[in-house]
């Protein structure tokens, strides 16, 4: 039996297993989207997979483990989207803006996962250190872009700080929270909240004005 394009050794089994795992995660994501993040139930996933509930335990040790895998998948996807967006924009402020907007767009397009990641709506679920790791890298990305923006003279030197990172993420999270809570069906760019994001980015610039000339600048806001 010469396997033409099938892999040589015994990882046939491992691959099928991995496929099933991905399928479970996809279904779980669908269910969360339809029923809410904490409306996820093993029983419903099993039903859609065409299997009895206990069979799911062959793939995940618990419901929380499914949440954790979704959390990790989301972090990786989100990180990727953001990286991509930042790479496709100019350095510094441009990259930061592009990255944040991409982040917001992704969050609204993947609400269930985004809520799981950023709002913790399932109190009994705490992400594992592993699943949380990519988020550290995301902060680093943002931080780097802000440092670049400082170098390029687009922002004042205080923008290269933890405080400034907090401020930036606060602005985005504010917009997303409002949009998700009050306009649950709209995408990024629609409604009353997400269109204000560019304006908020301009506020950020106002908050960290470059020292440039010796102007005492009435808009130094710190």
């Amino acid at each position: 039996m010469a396997q033409t394009d099938t892999p040589p050794r015994s990882d046939r089994r491992a691959r099928r297993r991995q496929e099933t795992i991905e399928e479970i995660l996809d279904i779980a994501e669908d269910v969360m989207t339809e029923e809410g993040v904490n409306g996820l139930s093993l029983a419903e996933v099993a039903r859609r997979l065409g299997v009895q509930p206990p069979s799911i335990y062959k793939y995940f040790p618990s419901l929380m483990a499914i949440y954790d895998s979704l959390f990790l998948r989301g972090q990786l996807e989100h990180l990727d989207v953001m990286r991509q967006a930042m790479a496709g924009a100019e350095c510094g402020l441009g990259a930061l803006t592009a990255g944040l907007e991409a982040s917001g767009r992704w969050a609204l397009a993947n609400r269930a996962i985004a809520q799981l990641m950023f709002w913790r709506p399932v109190p009994s679920f705490a992400p594992s250190a592993e699943a949380f790791a990519p988020s550290v890298e995301m902060v680093a990305l943002q931080r780097a872009a802000m440092a670049e923006a400082v170098c390029a003279g687009q922002l004042g030197p205080e923008a290269d700080s933890d405080e400034a990172i907090c401020l930036v993420s606060t602005l985005l999270v504010g917009v997303l929270s409002q949009s998700m809570a009050n306009e649950p069906d709209l995408e990024w760019g629609q409604g009353r909240f997400t269109p204000t994001f560019p304006k908020l980015m301009k506020l950020l610039v106002a908050a960290y004005p470059r020292p440039a000339s010796g102007s005492k600048s009435g808009s130094d806001v710190r």
Copy 2:
């Protein structure tokens, strides 16, 4: 039967009933605080009340009705806190700032209820129109303060707009979201996020500069 302000008929009974209702709501709030907003369970409430679960149904038709009552109670309390804070400050911008800070302080001191009210962590729960009503009044309060701030020349005329209200609430919600998600044990004024709120209020001023002199003002951010 001259009803003055309380229904005179079968009074004692009605009062005891009302007391039990309040007690149930208090317990429910405790449970939510300990177990998370959607960790609220009728069974646990019954246990703490020293009663069998079905007995709760004599007071509330469903778990969702309890959520709804908590939502309403929260709205009223929050509205009151905010009104009080605004009354105790100068008009306009001062009142607005005081009101928002009081709102934030209240939200962190009453996390469970605040989350129920502003983040909708229980997807199967949607507040009734009744329970939602006070929030309309709250927006009106904020709007009035902003209009005053415009009159007093503290903010530019565009600050008296729906858009500006959105912006203000977005800033506060951003701070609260971040604080609740990342620093679940801290009060208002502690940690990395809530102390940035005064700065954000200054950003608001930068976003709606008064036209005052003919300055073209590099910090007009709209």
